[in-house]
Amino acid sequence: MKKIEAIIKPFKLDDVKEGLNEIGITGMTIYEVKGHGRQKGHKEIYRGAEYVVDFIPKIKIELIVGADIVEQVVEKIRNSANTGKIGDGKIFVLPVEDVIRVRTGEHGKDAI
């Protein structure tokens, strides 16, 4: 099992969610986060005073999938979140030791 963490532009969340639904992924957790990579922040001007806002709003999606479909899910997220412009985000893939469903106590892939 793998955990996929994807940081994307907020306005792309619906596209990503629908894309994942198409390939049968129904569960995910999202966070509203702030950050920057190479894109850096943006500038705001109030009465001549310029402020550089370093951290700009992003959405972070977390989902756990079986190792067999990782490539497919990553490709789907990449395609649906891609605008071709700087600041599109990053996808991280991490190993997951176990998953437990709270209601039934199932372990492993069955609990996803």
Binding site: E44, I45, Y46, R47, G48, A49, E50, Y51, V53
Partner: protein, 405 residues
């Protein structure tokens, strides 16, 4: 007594009153969320305290029988003798109506200062400062220019609706307060952003409409000069709006809505002393210069390191000074036979008189404001504690918050 003039002045008076809540919104949107109510209160409370002072002794100090050209005496204390018959200041409206109109000016002037000390002054200190400043700065300077026998008025200084009395006067107190009180915590290190620009823009719109009462009403009759003042007010405000935005677009790369709102106010300030003395083309020039000049003036506080939080000095001080001088340049007997010709119409002397009037008011307001600040600081302390400042004045001074989380 003229019923047309009376009804016009009743409405103009109400319009000027409306400027103070407009200013509350204008300033309220520019501060951080945690200080919005305290900032609004600084304007709103003046509607209360100054009304009482005005009736008790304020009108008498400003418009009572003259003492040496400096101040009115106390003959009109409690508005004794100010009645419903036309008074010495206006032939066609009740004396009490002139008194009411002038009251609204006395209310908004100390409220204007609050932009400089926003986000850090104790409410008790604000109250004491406002009472003392109105008494010892506003009332005398108002008498100098508009009171019968006032020395600036006798000298021939032209101040149609209060560029010197209201704007230069309050901006000098604002500068004194910003310097004396010191900077807000975090100034120059963290971003002290406006929290609600739509509120500020709404406020500037209310100021703009109120300014028609302010400037046109200063004619005191509903006739030619009121119309001239009304028209020049609109033209100068529109031109200054454009030139502020143009200047920031060229220098910083983006036209901003706050720039548009600030430019409009700068134009309204600049045309205030000139409104009933200059023609429409002069109003265009006054406005165009006011917007760009006041935009450049906002950089002074960073350059010299004083925290004039909401730019009272740049907008009201520099705009007011430009307006006072511009009146000496552009005033024309063609437009107002009761006024004077300015430098550009062959009378350089008028320019010198305007400069002297502005200079005297700057010096007096700076010095007396500093003395008053020192007294208030000794008596109750001007600034809130660091803890209260971080918490915000809304909670620490008023136990309220502007917005639920």
């Amino acid at each position: 007594m003229n019923s047309g003039d009376t009804s016009f002045m009743l409405l103009a008076t109400a319009l000027v009153m409306f400027m103070t809540p407009g200013l509350a919104l204008f300033y309220g949107g520019l501060v951080r969320q945690k200080n919005v109510l305290a900032t609004i209160m600084h304007s709103i409370f003046c509607l209360g305290i100054i009304s009482i002072i005005w009736v008790l002794y304020g009108y008498s100090l400003a418009f009572g029988p003259d003492i040496g050209g400096i101040v009115g005496n106390l003959d009109l204390i409690g508005l004794k003798g100010v009645g419903l018959d036309p008074g010495p200041y206006a032939d066609t409206i009740p004396g009490l109506l002139f008194c009411a109109f002038q009251l609204m000016f006395a209310i908004i002037t100390p409220a204007l200062i609050s932009g400089a000390y926003a986000e850090r002054m104790k409410f008790s200190a604000f109250l004491l400062f406002t009472v003392l400043w109105s008494t010892f700065v506003y009332m005398p300077v108002c008498h100098w220019v508009w009171g019968q026998g006032g020395w600036l008025g006798r000298l021939g200084a032209l101040d149609f609706a209060g560029g010197t009395v209201i704007h230069i006067n309050s901006a000098c107190a604002a500068f004194a307060a910003a310097v004396f009180m010191g900077k807000r915590k975090g100034w120059g290190q963290e971003a002290l952003h406006p929290h609600n620009l739509p509120m500020t823009i709404l406020g500037s719109g209310i100021l703009w409409i109120g300014w028609f009462g302010f400037n046109a009403g200063s004619a005191l009759t509903a006739g030619k000069i009121a119309t001239l003042a009304f028209f020049t007010t609109q033209i100068a405000a529109g031109c200054a709006l454009m030139s502020w935005v143009a200047a920031e677009w060229i220098i910083q790369g983006k036209p901003t809505t706050l720039g548009a709102a600030s430019g409009a106010v700068a134009g309204l300030v600049a045309v205030t002393p000139a409104a009933g003395f200059v023609g429409p083309v002069s109003a265009i020039i006054i406005g165009l210069i006011a917007g760009a000049l006041c935009y450049c003036a906002i950089f002074l506080k960073t350059r010299f390191g004083y925290d004039d939080a909401l730019d009272v000095v740049a907008v009201h001080g520099v705009g007011g000074l430009w307006g006072a001088l511009a009146t000496g340049l552009f005033a024309s007997l063609y437009w107002n036979p009761d006024g004077a010709d300015g430098l550009f119409f062959g009378n350089p002397n008028q320019f010198l008189i305007q400069a002297a009037g502005a200079g005297a008011s700057i010096a007096y307001s700076l010095v007396v404001s500093l003395i008053i600040l020192k007294i208030v600081d000794t008596a109750v302390g001007l600034r809130v504690s660091e803890e209260d400042e971080i918490m915000g004045l809304d909670l620490s001074q008023h136990s309220e918050i502007g917005y639920t989380q």
